[in-house]
């Protein structure tokens, strides 16, 4: 079994989840609490990765992150290296691929909080920032956890985007989903089967956990 590929998968999923939750929280907050011009257009744009074929996302990421793209060129000037075919590159790809799965459940959890609770906090002297950490987060924690698990599972499952942006460099960008595909290509069904099997209990356990969390919010 290709433990290295499994390790890269888990590392990518953890890094993606942590970074994306931090990035998505303020976005979800703005979508839940503010009204501004063009909000529905922005929201649809944020959810777009969910509706696009992964290869389409991958294609545009190659264009943008490649040596001629503006992100790739800026990165090249800063570090002298390339973004494509690196772990950092697939992390960016994985984050963009999973953005909707972080923003949507968090926005839903934030919107469920009664506005009057926030007003009570303001009158009690809490700034918006303190209210976010002391009132909003504790009261939407199961929604936030559900979002984190969804992102984690979704980035474990990523394939097309990562293959296009990262290729398949062992220890760098070769994740388990790609390793399985390659093992099958080389008729190595035993290795593919072992790796495939290892996903099932992991994904199943996390889905059970999401169900538990959703039940918790309903009561």
């Amino acid at each position: 079994m290709d433990y290295l590929a499994l390790y890269v998968t888990l590392k990518l999923a953890v890094v993606t989840t942590v970074l994306l939750m931090v990035i998505a929280a303020p976005v979800a907050y703005a979508l839940a609490y503010y009204r501004f011009a063009g909000k529905s257009f922005l929201e649809a744009l944020i959810y777009l990765p969910m509706a696009l074929p992964p290869t389409v996302i991958g294609f545009y990421l190659i264009i943008v992150m490649g040596p001629k793209g503006f992100v790739g060129r800026a990165w090249g000037m800063l570090t002298g290296g390339s973004l494509l075919f690196t772990f950092f590159g697939i992390t960016i790809a994985s984050i963009i691929y999973s953005v909707p799965f972080a923003v949507q459940p968090m926005k839903a959890a934030f919107s469920k909080i009664d506005r009057r609770l926030l007003e009570a906090a303001y009158v009690l002297g809490l700034s918006k920032r303190e209210t976010f950490f002391r009132v909003i987060i504790p009261n939407s924690i199961s929604g936030i956890a559900a979002a984190a698990i969804l992102v984690f599972l979704h980035s474990i499952g990523a394939f097309g985007v990562l293959l296009m942006v990262g290729g398949s460099i062992p220890g760098q960008t070769e994740v388990a989903s790609i390793a399985i595909y390659e093992a099958v290509e080389m008729m190595n069904y035993k290795a593919a089967g072992m790796m495939a099997l290892s996903f099932i209990p992991l994904s199943y356990a996390f889905l059970l956990l999401i169900n538990k969390l959703n039940e918790g919010t309903r009561t």
Binding site: D114, R116, L117, E119, A120, A121, Y122, V123, L124, G125, L126, S127, R134, V135, P138, N139
Partner: protein
């Protein structure tokens, strides 16, 4: 310290246009039919809503002035505000709720004893009765050392007996308070029982005749103006 307020705002069914000032350290009851703009006025005092025009000052501090573009955020007004419900944070127990913005956490213990809920400190809000929740909400507001206490129909979601009990407690308590209290209700009985001063608000304006009309009207002659919920007999206190 004088509260001087003058607010104008166009609401859905009428225009709010009201000015009042209040200087005493006692209780002013704002009374009027439901949907008459009382809550909007309280929210403007707290800074949760913005008048279109007007001015609000407390002592030398100007909290709102539409001419000068001043609008102090609710955080800096240091008020106590008790809503009808929804004051308490569901994720915290009663003690942590009351201590949420307390100046001194030790005082919360004293307040809990005063309001007879010290045996419920560790309970979450959904585990106690509505009356106990409102007691805790008042403790929460008092623990912050408010400069004005705003009570917006704090007992109206409660049953009649609990409501009457809390009303009495509040009346006993108010002599100990060193700040003005503004109490909103649509219940004439409650107003007469608690008030040192009464401000009748009908459709966004002060209407001094409203209470007389409500008390003296023939029950059948006029549709009740969504107010005076308790039977008129309870007026004999």
């Amino acid at each position: 310290m004088t509260i001087a307020a003058s607010f104008k705002k166009r609401l859905k069914y009428f225009d709010l246009d009201i000015s009042f000032s209040y200087a005493k350290k006692s209780m002013m009851v704002m009374i009027g039919p439901s949907g008459g703009g009382k809550t909007t006025i309280i929210r403007m005092l707290a800074g949760l809503e913005k008048p279109e025009e007007g001015r609000l000052s407390f002592g030398d501090e100007v909290w709102f002035d539409s001419m000068r573009g001043i609008n102090i955020v609710p955080q800096k007004r240091r008020l106590g505000y008790v809503f009808q419900d929804y004051n308490l944070f569901p994720h915290l127990n009663l003690f942590d709720n009351a201590a949420f913005a307390a100046v001194d956490k030790k005082e919360v213990d004293e307040l809990f004893e005063l309001f007879r809920i010290d045996h419920l400190k560790k309970r979450k809000p959904h585990m106690v009765s509505g009356g106990e929740r409102q007691r805790c909400a008042i403790c929460q507001a008092l623990a912050r050392h408010p400069r004005i206490l705003l009570l917006d129909e704090p007992f109206s979601a409660l049953d009649a007996i609990t409501r009457r009990g809390l009303r009495e407690e509040l009346k006993n308590l108010k002599s100990k308070m060193s700040f003005p209290i503004i109490y909103v209700t649509h219940d004439i009985t409650e107003a007469l029982y608690l008030a040192d001063e009464i401000l009748p608000v009908v459709e966004g304006k002060i209407d001094d005749q409203w209470m007389q009309r409500m008390i003296t009207r023939e029950p059948s002659s006029e549709v009740a103006l969504r107010a005076a919920r308790e039977p008129r007999l309870t007026l004999v206190y």
